[in-house]
């Protein structure tokens, strides 16, 4: 029986879609049959981030309305044999599907996959309600900024009220240099404020932009962000993997330097 995980944030632009793509690909690379579902009706993005935008024939609304079978809408990626994408509709609006229909679809496909990842749209309206319907677990994506943390808190409250109890935090785009000079909240600050379990931390990495430009993932590549996503995937798979303190390595070196310079 597959596990349904919704990737959500409240605020837009914090990295939900990039996270969905990279975790989906990471889990598939670990040999898990994984489907990623884009629920952002009208603003389809997940296919673009994954470089599969030219392959779309049918979409989520077609499947739900009975316009096609699930198999016809699913997009495979030759690079990742265990990965399936169910794209969103670019022309429909949020009211074309209901939470009830989402729940039904998920219960029908749950047995066929190990992991079902749902890419949630920004906001707390209909699209959010559709995306969390049928999810048993969530990944709340935030960046270390006031507005993103505020929205994340709101989202966590709504998830808890909806009966989703396993909600974990992913802090995206941490900049070590800024944290160190006191101009960006630390991982501890954000985790303490939001008071949920930390799933992982992704450093701000230009490789994410470069990869996304080309419709590729960072997971599986030799980059800081790629390695961070890989650790997150292993944690989702139940492995005990440490969350490295992003600010620690250089801090330690600094201390040694200070020791020798006598400052």
């Amino acid at each position: 029986m597959g596990e349904v995980i919704v990737i959500t944030s409240g605020k837009g632009g914090v990295g939900k879609t990039t996270t969905t793509a990279n975790i989906g690909i990471g889990l598939s690379l670990a040999g898990k049959k994984t489907i990623v579902i884009d629920t952002d009706l009208g603003l389809r993005n997940l296919d673009v981030v994954m470089g599969l935008e030219n392959r779309i024939v049918y979409n989520l609304v077609d499947v739900i309305s009975g316009g096609c079978r699930l198999k016809q809408a699913l997009i495979r990626d030759q690079r990742y044999p265990e990965l399936y994408l169910l794209p969103s509709a670019q022309t429909k609006d949020k009211s074309s599907i209901s939470p009830e229909q989402m729940r039904k679809l998920l219960s029908e496909i749950k047995d066929e996959f190990d992991y079902i990842l749902i890419d949630c749209p920004a906001g707390i309206e209909q699209g959010f309600k559709n995306a969390i319907a049928g999810a048993e677990r969530s990944i709340v994506v935030t960046t270390p900024e006031v507005s993103a943390i505020r929205d994340a808190d709101r989202i966590i409250g709504l998830l808890e009220t909806s009966g989703i109890q396993k909600n974990e935090l992913l802090i995206n785009r941490i900049r070590v240099d800024m944290v160190r000079r006191g101009d960006m909240m630390t991982v501890e600050d954000v985790t303490e404020i939001l008071a949920i379990d930390l799933l992982g931390v992704i450093p701000d990495d230009e490789q994410v932009v470069i990869a996304t430009n080309q419709g590729e993932a960072v997971v599986g590549t030799d980059s800081l962000s790629g390695e961070a996503y890989e650790r997150i995937c292993r944690r989702i798979l139940g492995e005990k993997v440490d969350i490295p303190d992003v600010c620690c390595p250089e801090g330690f070196l600094d201390r040694i330097k200070h020791l020798f310079s006598g400052k």
């Binding site: 900024e145 006031v146 943390i149 505020r150 808190d153 709101r154 966590i156 409250g157 808890e160 000079r181 006191g182 101009d183 960006m184 909240m185 630390t186 600050d189 404020i193 008071a195």
Partner: protein
């Protein structure tokens, strides 16, 4: 020296979360804390500096440290 902007950010986010969680205007949380303090002090001997109200997403925690000799 410039004050690290993180301190301001943390204070702003904490205030925002309290007003969001209570769905109230910014001053209301302080009023609530003051009223809770008054109510508690009717029954327990407390000092303002030993009394704290903490508002989470689902609970309101009242913390007080008893008398110290």
């Amino acid at each position: 020296m410039r004050m690290p902007s993180v301190r301001i950010a943390k204070e702003r986010v904490r205030n925002l979360l309290v007003t969001d969680r209570l769905q109230c205007t910014p001053g209301t949380a302080d009023d609530l804390s003051r009223d809770i303090y008054r109510a508690v002090s009717k029954y327990i001997e407390i000092k303002p500096e030993c009394f704290q109200v903490h508002i989470t997403r689902s609970d309101i925690h009242i913390k007080y440290t008893g008398e110290k000799h």
